[in-house]
């Protein structure tokens, strides 16, 4: 009998019942909510006359709708936004669920705050009505996005009925060239295998590049698993994971910690474990990547030229590419690195952790944002913000002409408040370049924080390697 994959080990440990036909009832260790989708789950649960089974295992983050402007309050630029904030808070308080609220020094984006607090641990199951819950797989947890109705189910029962996914291993070999980050790798992967390439799979990211990667970079890698249509992604925990978690507020202490570390050592796929699909990516050849279109699969090296739809043999691809070019205001053959930008955004659950801000600040330091470019940094959490300020990163950004914001999801998406404007070309460290994602008509180019920083300085999409020492 073959060995087990990492996912099977976590899965088997959480199986409450086999529901037959490939579906299991899984125990859920942590239920996370935010004011955008969690509000509906809590409200609907109450309307059905049901209660939260284990309030201590649920947490609410205020991140999606709250303003990130200095001096913020429950009032927000998004029409109707205040009701989401206040109804979520009231429902959470009534249910006895802890809220990382506005004014709390721990507030921020759920996928940044929860790991940072030591609430997500290797081998745990974590769910949230938010598609980027996969981010937390970077710590070796099985963490996946659900809908609001499933959120109600998890709150009421501490379980979810889940169909066993197919297993894929993505092995990252070789080594990263200077200027190339986890974001560039995962965009390359999606570009090669399409935005539907991971459909039906849970993906284990493995190989020497993942082992060499910092924990926060692994979270970036896993964050984009949903953009690959995967059910979720994760990385096996290792000594770096243990070191990253040690001493965090909610992390186990004393003898519990010692027992946990011993148990986590087994959280890896056995050598003879079998995957349904294997993909390998030689990272040595990967360059800094920027998207040109309106799907994360429209990704290419920053040195590349926008494709000609006519050259694609698939009529569906041709049509999708034509639409994307029209929306993005581009022509076949345009050089990505020649495109002038209007704005640059560093933030989101993909790339707003301290390491991201350090990387961007290293590029920005001693330079200035190009004339006419609006540049914004939004730390992922108030703790990231405080840590960045303690080492002077805020001054680096402010001196260069960036805005320095309070923590939150901010302009990763447009909810009716702030946006970049129609026709504006934005380079952004976020995860989605969908039509209208950052505002009606806004043209979003996804890239790493380093590439965003370099482009803000250059005033056009830039190859970060040109600005590195």
């Amino acid at each position: 009998m073959p060995g087990k994959t990492l996912v099977e080990k976590i899965w088997d440990r959480h199986r409450v019942a086999d529901l037959g036909d490939g579906t299991d009832l899984l125990y859920v260790d942590r239920v996370l909510l935010h004011e955008r989708t969690g509000s509906v789950a809590l409200k609907s649960l109450g309307e059905a006359g049901r209660t939260v089974r284990n309030p201590a295992q649920a947490f609410v983050c205020m991140d999606h709708i709250v303003d990130t402007l200095p001096g913020r309050s429950d009032d927000t630029l998004m029409p109707g936004g205040k009701a989401f904030i206040q109804e979520t808070r009231a429902a959470a308080n009534a249910a006895g669920i802890q809220v990382f609220d506005l004014g709390d020094p721990r507030q921020g984006i759920v996928h940044v705050v929860i790991p940072e607090q030591g609430l997500t641990l290797p081998g745990l199951t974590v769910v949230c009505p938010d598609s980027h819950t996969c981010t937390q797989g970077g710590l070796g947890a099985l963490a996946w996005g659900i809908g609001s109705t499933e959120g109600e189910h998890a709150l009421a029962t501490q379980t979810l009925a889940v169909r066993r996914p197919k297993r894929m291993r993505v092995t990252l070999t070789g080594a990263l060239a200077p200027g190339v980050t986890a974001k560039d790798l995962v965009l390359t992967l999606i570009g090669r295998h399409t935005a539907a390439g991971g459909s039906g799979y849970v993906i284990e990211f493995a190989g020497p590049v993942v082992e060499a990667m910092a924990v926060e970079a692994r979270m970036t890698l896993c964050n984009m698993a949903v953009e690959f249509a995967a059910w979720t992604g994760l990385c096996a925990p290792d000594d770096k994971t243990v070191a990253w978690l040690a001493g965090r507020p909610f992390a186990p202490k004393g003898a519990d910690w010692d027992r946990a570390v011993v148990a986590w050592a087994d959280l890896r796929s056995d050598a003879d474990a079998v995957f349904d699909k294997e993909i390998e990516l030689d990272c040595t050849e990967v360059a800094p990547v920027v998207t040109w279109g309106t799907s994360p699969q429209h990704a290419m090296a920053v040195t590349g030229q926008v494709p000609d739809p006519a050259a694609d043999p698939d009529p569906n691809n041709r049509e999708a590419q034509r639409r994307a070019l029209a929306y993005m205001g581009l022509n076949p053959g345009d050089r990505l690195a020649d495109l002038a930008i209007d704005a640059a955004f560093i933030g989101s659950c993909t790339n707003s952790r301290l390491s991201d801000l350090r990387t961007a600040a290293a590029i920005v330091k001693g330079r200035h944002v190009a004339r006419g470019v609006r540049a914004i940094v939004v730390p992922g959490s108030m703790q990231v913000k405080a840590a960045a300020e303690a080492e002077g990163l805020d001054r680096v950004f402010l001196d260069a002409g960036f805005e320095w914001r309070e923590a939150g999801c901010s302009m990763c998406f447009f909810a009716g408040g702030e946006h970049f404007g129609a026709g504006q070309r934005v380079i952004t460290s976020t995860n989605r370049n969908f039509e209208n994602r950052q505002g009606p008509g806004t043209r979003s180019h996804l890239a790493s924080p380093a590439s965003v920083a370099a482009s803000a300085i250059a005033g056009r999409i830039a190859d970060v390697r040109d600005l590195m020492d």
């Binding site: 201590a56 809908g147 459909s199 569906n316 209208n436």
Partner: protein
């Protein structure tokens, strides 16, 4: 939940790949905490020439006869990718959609459909494309090319005859999803029947992994 057994209706061709939930309902259209009042925001950026004034875009398929009455969508691959927002499904349902046929779906969206009585049918890309091409020929005088029948009990979709094609397409759904749709089951109620098993599991789990539970209060 309203059961889904069979459906006969007009299918609207929406042959774009990777139609994301932001496109199905933009974030700014989710104006109140709740599951209703969302259909006006359905496909808002495509459906309206002027979103604020709600001026219709006559070129958008759902604004044209006979597709205004569509209860089925014929979509491209990876339909419903992106954000987990269940509002996308609530908006579709409120507008009148009961079934979506596509080569593949976003995973969270697929689950959200089943939990709200919308049937997601996965068919090969060439089959969906053929049905969409046929549906595109439909007019208000002759909606027949767009008329489909979906029978969940038999797992069979029946469309117009396409050349030598018999016009029937078998499909499968996981038995759990199928039962939930056919019987309009309340998933939480079903699981709560297993509460003793959950409690028993939890007691063992807490004993074996004391670092995971209970969560400290801070």
């Amino acid at each position: 939940m309203e059961p889904f057994v069979t459906l006969t209706g007009v299918a609207a061709p929406l042959q774009r790949q990777n139609i994301d939930t932001d496109a199905i309902i933009p974030s700014r259209e989710m104006k109140t905490v709740g599951k209703t009042g969302l259909s006006g925001g359905l496909f808002a950026n495509w459906r309206y020439a002027d979103v604020a004034a709600r001026t219709e875009n006559p070129d958008f398929i759902l604004n044209r006869a006979p597709f205004r009455q569509a209860t089925i969508l014929l979509a491209g691959s990876n339909f419903g990718c992106g954000s987990s927002r269940e509002h996308a499904v609530w908006a579709l349902k409120e507008w009148g959609v009961r079934c979506i046929v596509a080569p593949s779906f976003g995973a969270i969206f697929h689950g959200n459909c089943v939990r709200n009585g919308i049937l997601p049918v996965t068919l090969p890309a060439d089959a969906v494309a053929a049905l969409a091409t046929a549906a595109g020929q439909a007019t208000s005088d002759d909606p027949a090319p767009a008329r489909l029948t979906v029978d969940l009990r038999q797992g069979l979709l029946t469309g117009p005859h396409l050349g030598s094609d018999p016009g029937t397409y078998p499909f499968t759904l996981s038995p759990a999803d199928r039962d939930m749709l056919l019987e309009g089951l309340d998933a939480i109620g079903l699981t709560l029947k297993r509460l003793p098993a959950i409690q028993s599991f939890e007691a063992d789990y807490r004993a074996a992994t004391p670092w995971a539970l209970p969560v400290p209060t801070l």
